[in-house]
């Protein structure tokens, strides 16, 4: 907080404590104990008796406690307190404790190769739970994905399925960028390329349009998707010859993809999950498509 506000808090807090203490001690002596104060409200009068000792000392102790507390803990504006307590620090302590307790559970699988790990039911249950916590929001609880989120159970791997490639995907995330071709191709061009892509995937195109589309494809698309349209894992460019569509395979959706491009982004999990956990997830993800 700003210095001004910090000062405001300090003055207000310490000032209040001072006022309480003054009020308390100034009212210790009473003028006429056992008699009324002299005022009367609707026939109700008040005795002028001293504060009970236990009440008085309880209050005084609580003021002292408050002072001690404000010296040790943060509370007076920007003053951090001599105890050095922070909630982040408390979180770190708890995380360290958790790592100490649960770390070995994950570490025991570190040196098991992923293919072997995929057959370990206990490890795969751990993988399923981690998947549900971290991955299922996008990829679905069974890993089947949805529009724009890859289906991990099919046989296509956009970025490759070797253990190293999967590790890179999980750690660092992926950024897939397909440029928008609307500026380079006019409506006819887009239509032609759409028909060619339909033909590539094994469906029935409008023949002459597809032939024109092939020309544009070889010129513009093959550089990422390959001359045969089989895709390129280095770029994350999908295989266009299978019938697996990340963004939908209807003519409308392919047109949309070509017109405006696509921008697929997967976050990296290296800051949240350590290598031991990522190793188990690696095996789990591979097991999802092996389960077919």
């Amino acid at each position: 907080m700003s210095t001004g506000f910090s000062l405001f808090v300090i003055v207000g807090t310490l000032g209040s404590l001072l006022v309480y203490a003054l009020l308390l001690f100034m009212n210790r002596r009473v003028k006429n104990p056992g008699q009324t104060t002299g005022h009367e409200f609707d026939g109700i009068s008040e005795y002028d008796n001293p504060l009970p000792a236990w009440w008085f000392w309880g209050f005084a102790l609580s003021i002292l406690f408050a002072l001690g507390y404000l010296i040790w803990f943060p509370g007076l504006g920007n003053f951090q307190g001599i105890g050095g307590w922070t909630s982040y620090g408390q979180l770190e302590d708890q995380q360290a404790e958790a790592d100490e307790r649960y770390g070995p559970v994950f570490a025991q699988y570190r040196n098991v190769p992923v293919d072997e790990l995929a057959k370990d039911p206990a490890a795969m249950r751990m993988g399923q739970r981690m998947f549900a916590n971290n991955c299922a929001q996008c990829h679905g609880s069974a890993g089947t994905g949805s529009h724009g989120f890859p289906n991990l159970t099919d046989e296509e791997w956009l970025w490759g399925n070797s253990p190293e490639q999967i590790h890179a995907t999980l750690s660092n995330g992926r950024q897939a960028t397909m440029p928008a071709w609307g500026a380079m191709l006019n409506a006819i061009g887009i239509r032609n390329v759409t028909e060619y892509v339909i033909q590539l995937s094994g469906r029935e195109p409008v023949a002459d349009q597809a032939a024109l589309g092939k020309v544009e494809f070889d010129r513009l698309c093959a550089v990422c998707h390959g001359a045969d349209g089989k895709g390129q894992q280095l770029m994350g460019a999908p295989d266009l010859t299978n019938n697996i569509w990340l963004y939908g395979g209807s003519r409308e959706e392919i047109t949309e993809t070509l017109l405006n491009g696509r921008n697929g982004r997967m976050p990296g999990f290296a800051d949240r999950l350590d290598d031991n956990r990522l190793h188990i997830l690696n095996a789990y993800v591979r097991s999802l498509s092996a389960a077919q």
Binding site: A136, G140, S141, A142, T144, S146, F149, N243, S250, A291
Partner: protein, 495 residues
């Protein structure tokens, strides 16, 4: 603003005495008595005591037969296991217990208090221990008056006996309290584990703390508080008057027969002197554990232990009079009438109790030992496979509450032509909740509509305890794109 005139009102006929609502406790020295009803208490008290102490030691199916496993949220009672989902049954059971209590109270008065209540049973044992250590009533009164071992003048030899007797008594009290407390925790921790861990000083802090708590609570309740619990703490004493009627069995002093009370010479014609059967020996007051005089009539402190009945009958025998001056009787009978069961309250409570108990048994016997839940992912409606088939993904949660492991076959009804991935039976251990990721795939030709109801069924491969396979089912939906459904396409080709 007008002042509202206030008038000070003091009733004329009330003297301004100060009423002190706090009544200082006077120690009761209960006289020991033997008799018919005290023997009845042996038959009601001992089975309950033995049941309480011995039940945790019985093992069944490899585990403790009666175990309330709080961390695992499983409550084992003999061959049955209850999960938190069965909590409604506990509510029913309590309702049945309540109606049974009201029924028995309307019928027989406070028989629960006098013969079966743990407070009475434990207090009786503690009183026996006190008698063993400190002697009979008069001896105890004398012992209390003796000075302590440390007087202001210094070491006092005579107080040694008092101290030793007291130590003996409190030692027995604490020992029995410890047994009680540890047994109670044994119902939750596992009595064998508890004894082993306690013996090896391996007991966790919380377990040890609870054992000590219940030990102290037993010691204080049965040793120090005794009748204070019955008089001040227990609500039963206070609402008994709501359930009693003129035909309820209560312990009563037959005033018509007993008054005028007074002492007399043996074999004298007391009736001619205007005296009744009561010789005012005050035995009925001396034996009362709550310290009341039953001759004053029905009081809320009377726990119905019938010590006064046994005492007075004893005296009547000695005097040669008929028994029953103090007896179990009803107000109607005392007034010269007879007992009847045709009372709306009694019939009502009895009927309610029977109906609820019957329903409870039926529900208990028909409990399903397996259940299934299904969850769809929120975001994804369907997925199109490369061969054109439509796929929906679900998370099935199979809960096996049975005592045995089972394998379950998963089926999808109302969706002909669908295939399941995985298609093999899933093993679920006893007490386990299994998460099954299920994918249902169907060719578009087989689709009837875009959004249709499907039923997930699980059937166990083997049969359960009653010879039938366990089954459960749950409904959900299968969603496909509208353009894939043949009925929607009206002849146009699939996209």
């Amino acid at each position: 603003m007008q002042r509202i005139p206030a008038k000070e009102v003091i009733a004329d006929d009330v003297d301004s005495k100060v009423f002190n609502l706090y009544e200082k406790r006077e120690k009761i020295y209960t006289r020991h008595i033997e008799g018919f009803f005290q023997r009845v208490r042996l038959f009601t008290g001992w089975p309950l005591l033995l049941g309480y102490f011995l039940l945790p030691w019985i093992n069944l199916d490899g585990r403790q037969a009666v175990l309330f496993d709080l961390p695992a949220r499983k409550f084992h009672i003999l061959w049955m296991t209850f999960w938190p989902q069965d909590f409604a049954l506990l509510g029913w059971l309590l309702a049945i217990a309540a109606f049974a209590l009201f029924f028995v109270t309307t019928l027989w008065g406070r028989v629960w208090c006098g013969y079966t209540c743990p407070q009475t049973v434990w207090t009786a044992i503690y009183m026996w221990a006190e008698q063993l250590a400190e002697g009979e009533r008069l001896q105890r009164m004398k012992l209390d008056k003796q000075p302590s071992i440390l007087s202001p003048k210094g070491w006092n030899r005579a107080g040694l006996e008092k101290t030793l007797r007291r130590l003996f008594k409190h030692g027995m009290w604490l020992g029995f309290a410890a047994l009680t407390g540890f047994t109670f925790i044994g119902y939750f921790y596992g009595i064998r584990d508890l004894v082993m861990d306690a013996w090896h000083w391996q007991l966790p802090l919380m377990a040890m703390a609870w054992c000590i708590f219940f030990t102290l609570a037993t010691y204080i309740n049965a040793g120090w508080m005794r009748e204070q619990v019955c008089i001040y703490m227990c609500p039963y004493a206070r609402f008994q008057s709501a359930m009693f009627d003129r035909d309820t069995l209560v312990i009563s002093y037959d005033a018509a027969r007993g008054e005028q009370r007074g002492s007399r010479r043996r074999n004298s014609d007391y009736k001619a002197e205007g005296l009744g059967d009561c010789i005012d020996c005050t035995m009925c007051v001396q034996v009362c554990p709550t310290g009341i005089d039953i001759r004053n009539g029905l009081q809320y402190q009377c726990i119905g232990c019938a010590a006064c009945v046994d005492a007075c009958d004893d005296i009547m025998d000695k005097m040669g009079y008929a028994r029953g001056l103090i007896s179990y009787t009803t107000e109607n009978k005392l007034a010269g009438g007879s007992w009847t069961w045709k009372r709306p309250k009694l019939i009502g409570y009895g009927a309610a109790m029977l109906v609820m108990a019957t329903l409870f048994v039926i529900v208990l016997a028909n409990r399903q030992q397996v259940s299934v839940e299904v969850m769809r992912d929120r975001a994804s409606l369907f997925q199109q496979l490369s061969d054109g088939r439509i796929e929906n993904a679900y998370q099935l949660r199979i809960i096996n509450r049975d005592g045995m492991d089972h394998e379950f076959v998963v089926e999808v009804a109302d969706l002909p032509g669908a295939t399941l991935v995985p298609d093999r039976p899933v093993a679920v251990a006893s007490g386990e909740i299994a998460d099954l990721l299920l994918r249902v795939q169907i060719s578009p030709e087989n689709l009837q509509q875009a959004n249709q109801n499907v039923m997930f069924r699980i059937v166990s491969v083997d049969s359960g305890r009653n010879g039938q396979p366990l089954r459960a089912e749950i409904e959900n939906r299968f969603i496909a794109p509208a353009s894939s459904v043949p009925a929607n396409r009206n002849g146009s080709p699939a996209p």
